[in-house]
Symmetry: C2
Subunit: 348 residues, 2 copies
DNA sequence: GGGGCATACGTTACCGGTAACTTAACTCTT
DNA sequence: AAGAGTTAAGTTACCGGTAACGTATGCCCC
């Protein structure tokens, strides 16, 4: 199995159509017609060819077909920032499952939230002639944008809703989702509010949520008294220690908004561990509505987005476009604020 | 951007090496040499070619190179059961990140824990001439096994340690990990023990953990009084309601072993919600050691496996093999029992 | 009974690169 | 000054399929 002996092994066990045809005593064109069920051959010939296909274990080389330009590939390049964040794993699951039902494959790229990584990946994946690309985020480097335009293949930008996408876009309006949460928290009576998130080297959806959040809070008479942007990943433990940092530097904080549910959950655990009552002493709100919420006795105040559906929708739009259907270039899958019980809605 | 007009669009904006060469006034062989930095051309020529590469936005077509058989592809097919399970997402993250550092790409396949899905995916992905495959699990259909042998490419089987793998294997011994937990639970004094997991249509690692667990428990004088195998996914909520079912049908249960941490966490939440003291009234043990454990005040009794490292190791073994290095065909990355505080180790 | 027309093939060319070989123009020897 | 070696190219063939076209039968029907 190891390719120890390149010159011997490189072609040794790969059976080509030519070999099948020779074994069956027909031309490779006839064998090709049989395999593609194209007609123009006798039943006898079909049987002869299929016998050899089975006997030799022939597997077609799709590279050759695509390369020859007779059809496009069934690759869809999919870029995702990271899979440590459960929501992105769900998105990818939705994408790949849906693509699979159409006989397409995901070629994965983890871009670690950086445009340079994304650009490098785009360059590589385009060289494999994918049928289309699904990219997380609306921001791309100038070179990436140029390559995408030149590629002439469908592109779906997911996550951030993008009213003027490169091609197609599906997601939610993160500014609005932050805004709604800000308005909600102030409406139930919070004034001094903190934020705990992580910093990235580039504008992203979390930043837009924060922007929307701040605008709503300040517009409604509250104040975002402290914004903590950790140089860390947006998971449980940074939420935990970030909350400690926040409460040390701003002990008057009445409520904390987190970049996502994992961080919020870390914060919740920090607070209860310190003997603080949530939401009596402090309110906690996250974003994303993790599956773990389904078993929590205290429902986390959050914002629900169907990540699986988002992925599925992206894949569906891609497939529709590839089959020539008209596709709206911008699809909002919506979100739903979850009041939960980690903020106190009876402060008034 | 949409491929509306097939005959016009199919080739329209894809610049080939021939066009670059013509524009630069050289033969395509010379252009090829420049792009591969092969030498045998003047500095003047190099500049002329590179100018045209930039001007025309030329991207090489790797399909052609691989197809011509001059080098192997940089695709690695990666099959994963599902991404809803956080541990598999971590494995995939480890794989893809490591592959990325070598310039390789993952072609994903979500096999939903079924051998038939896996077989179908293997057939398809092999037609793309991947450089190698990384498969989750040691069980494959007969046809899949045959295709894998014929393919003549490296294969890494991950997750279950496999002493006689198809080619290479990396993972842990799940039987032993279940065995250790069984022995531990009996050693601290539990006798009537329950199990909550999910059922699959095929033998898998969770089944082996259960087998090891039962053997240890029974060998040490305890009893697995009830095994609940839900027809559901192995996540939080099934752990929650599965625990209810278990405790209704076997109220004498002193301790519950779960298929994984997500289910165990669901069970923990069910028990505390019902006013049961954990571990005072009932013990709870899981498997996998989820990241969320880092913020829990009560550490879940579990079994730690470095899933990210598992993925990285799999990718490293693949890369080592592809570069011709000798690779041990079986690598145990080990596990570590986490006593935690959801079982009572002072019952004696 | 010969022209028209399916049917069942075979032949050729091509996709975009690269290996292997060839060629033309220099440079350097002896 | 002729032969050898080097440099910078160009030419040809090939990978594994498929589109487009060519061709040899057999059959029917006026």
């Amino acid at each position: 199995m190891p390719p120890k002996n390149p010159e011997k092994n490189s072609k040794s066990n790969k059976v080509s159509l030519t070999e099948v045809a020779r074994a069956a005593g027909v031309s490779k064109m006839t064998a090709s017609r049989v395999l593609r069920d194209e007609g123009g051959y006798s039943e006898q010939t079909r049987i002869k060819v299929m016998e050899q296909v089975d006997a030799l274990g022939y597997l077609p080389n799709r590279l050759a077909t695509v390369f020859a330009g007779d059809q496009s590939s069934t690759f869809i390049g999919v870029s995702i920032p990271d899979l440590g964040n459960e929501v992105f794993a769900q998105v990818l699951e939705g994408i790949d499952r849906k693509l699979g039902t159409f006989g397409y494959q995901s070629v994965l790229g983890l871009t670690q939230h950086t445009l340079q990584e994304e650009e490098n990946w785009i360059r590589t994946v385009l060289s494999w002639q994918p049928a289309g690309l699904i990219l997380t985020g609306r921001y791309h480097s100038a070179r990436a944008t140029e390559m995408l335009r030149n590629a002439g293949i469908p592109v779906v930008e997911i996550w951030d809703l993008n009213s003027s996408p490169l091609d197609m876009s599906v997601g939610i309006n993160h500014f609005d989702s932050g805004f709604d949460m800000g308005r909600y928290l102030v409406s139930v009576g919070y004034r001094d509010i903190g934020y705990v998130g992580t910093s990235h080297d580039t504008a992203n959806a979390a930043t837009e949520r924060l922007n929307g959040f701040c605008k709503a809070v300040e517009g409604a008479g509250g104040a975002v008294i402290k914004q903590l942007c950790l140089h860390d990943t947006a998971t449980y433990y940074p939420g935990f220690y970030g909350t400690e940092q926040l409460l040390v530097s701003a002990p008057e904080t009445e409520c904390v908004y987190y970049q996502n549910d994992a961080m919020a959950f870390g914060g919740l655990q920090y607070c209860t561990g310190k003997g603080l009552d949530v939401p009596g002493d402090i309110g906690i709100a996250g974003w994303g509505d993790l599956p773990i919420a389904s078993v929590m006795s205290k429902r986390l105040t959050s914002c629900h987005v169907s990540h699986l559906k988002l992925g599925q929708k992206a894949a569906e739009m891609m497939m529709a476009r590839l089959s020539g259907e008209a596709v709206p270039n911008c699809t909002d899958i919506g979100f739903r604020l979850i009041p939960g019980s980690t903020v106190d809605n009876s402060r008034h």
